[in-house]
């Protein structure tokens, strides 16, 4: 781990000249370090190869114009009677809440859920705290390093997939087309996520 950290610091240009000298001298004396460095260099090469991508420049010729057009359509949406807009959001959120309270028991376990079940209480708490606080300074020291957000998202998706049919019917009653979700604000999106999390962890 320590050697890997040194290699990444070296390749990322984080080392000062003294550290570079010391590191390069260590490399010469260690075959293991040389192999590790070779492996990491391969990663950097692969990443760097995807840096310069040529594109059809015409796309960028009228972004400002497209923006103004998009803004006009946004203004049209906003002119929709406020009460109807607010009412539909309340209906959607009520529907989601209703679904959560009346959720069908779990009858089908998929691989990701099995993984979650294997976590102990402390890990689950840590997972939940990580997700809900959105603290992303990822310095965890255990096996689930860096996987929290993904596991939680997968869990939420798995939870909802279990009741997919019921959910579809319920949502269909409240939403006139799935695109309505595109109009939810960030705060409302947060609310939905939080509600889903609480049903699993509270």
């Amino acid at each position: 781990m320590k050697n890997e950290q040194r290699i990444v610091r070296y390749l990322d240009g984080q080392m000062n000249p003294d550290e570079v000298r010391q590191f390069e001298s260590d490399i010469e004396q260690s075959e293991e370090l040389q192999n590790l460095l070779r492996r990491y260099k391969k990663t950097f090469l692969l990443i760097n190869s995807a840096k310069d991508i040529s594109v059809d420049e015409r796309y960028f010729s009228n972004i400002a114009v497209q923006t103004k057009q998009a803004m006009q359509s946004t203004i049209r949406i906003k002119s929709f009677p406020a009460f109807a807009y607010g009412f539909s959001i309340i209906l959607i959120l009520t529907g989601i809440y209703f679904f959560i309270l009346n959720r069908q028991p779990v009858t089908q376990i998929v691989q990701k859920e099995t993984l979650i079940q294997e976590l102990n209480k402390t890990q689950i708490d840590e997972l939940y705290n990580y997700y809900s606080s959105y603290s992303d300074e990822i310095t965890f020291e255990h096996d689930y390093n860096g996987e929290f957000e993904r596991i939680i998202d997968d869990l939420i998706i798995s939870e909802l997939k279990i009741g997919e049919k019921e959910l579809d019917l319920l949502i269909a009653e409240f939403i006139n087309g799935s695109s309505s979700f595109a109009d939810l604000s960030d705060t409302e999106i947060d609310f939905v996520f939080e509600e889903l999390l609480h049903t699993k962890f509270d």
């Binding site: 890997e4 990491y40 040529s54 400002a64 996987e147 799935s178 996520f193």
Partner: protein, 184 residues
């Protein structure tokens, strides 16, 4: 007009009524915004949406911009937030999708990357980036592709440089581990 007009000059000019200055600001930063969003979302269609969203925010909020940070940092902050929010909204839309149809193949549709070799490179990169949780991916992209310093990333994300370095290390390590498995 001089090519090296500063961001400050362009913003001032736009605020005093010169609409073309806004276009110049967009032209200056649109590729950076697009590519950040594209690497975050993994396809042109979603990157296009994010770019439009960011440009709209820019248009609406530029009048309140007071140069407490650089325009560049401000735009990156908007782009970073919008990209993450876009991914989360998309995830929710996928969850609540009313049909079981497979998601549309967005990689190729009306893509602005035309060269087959470049498409392959991007495909490979997307596979790798998908391994990383969204926020880790974002920091990795800012450092590797947007070529921002840790101090700049810290200003944008509000995270400590130490945390960012640890984050970057874990990202690289995970990608390298993945490549090793792939080779074996």
């Amino acid at each position: 007009m001089a090519q090296n007009e500063s961001d400050f000059d362009l913003v001032e000019s736009y605020l005093s009524g010169d609409e073309s200055s806004f276009n110049k600001i967009v032209a200056r930063y649109q590729q950076k915004i697009y590519w950040h969003a594209r690497r975050m979302t993994g396809n042109h269609f979603d990157a296009d949406e994010v770019l439009q969203e960011v440009t709209i925010v820019m248009y609406k909020k530029l009048k309140d911009f007071q140069f407490k940070s650089s325009l560049y940092t401000w735009l990156y902050k908007i782009t970073a937030t919008r990209s993450i929010n876009y991914l989360r909204k998309k995830k929710l839309r996928d969850i609540f999708s009313l049909d079981d149809a497979e998601p549309m193949a967005l990689d190729s549709k009306e893509d602005i990357v035309l060269n087959i070799e470049d498409k392959e490179k991007l495909k490979k990169l997307n596979e790798i980036l998908k391994l990383l949780p969204e926020k880790q991916r974002q920091i990795f992209i800012m450092r590797t592709f947007d070529e921002l310093s840790y101090e700049e990333i810290s200003q944008i994300t509000g995270k400590s440089t130490g945390g960012l370095k640890a984050n970057y290390f874990h990202a690289i390590r995970k990608i390298t581990e993945h490549m090793k498995k792939y080779e074996e």
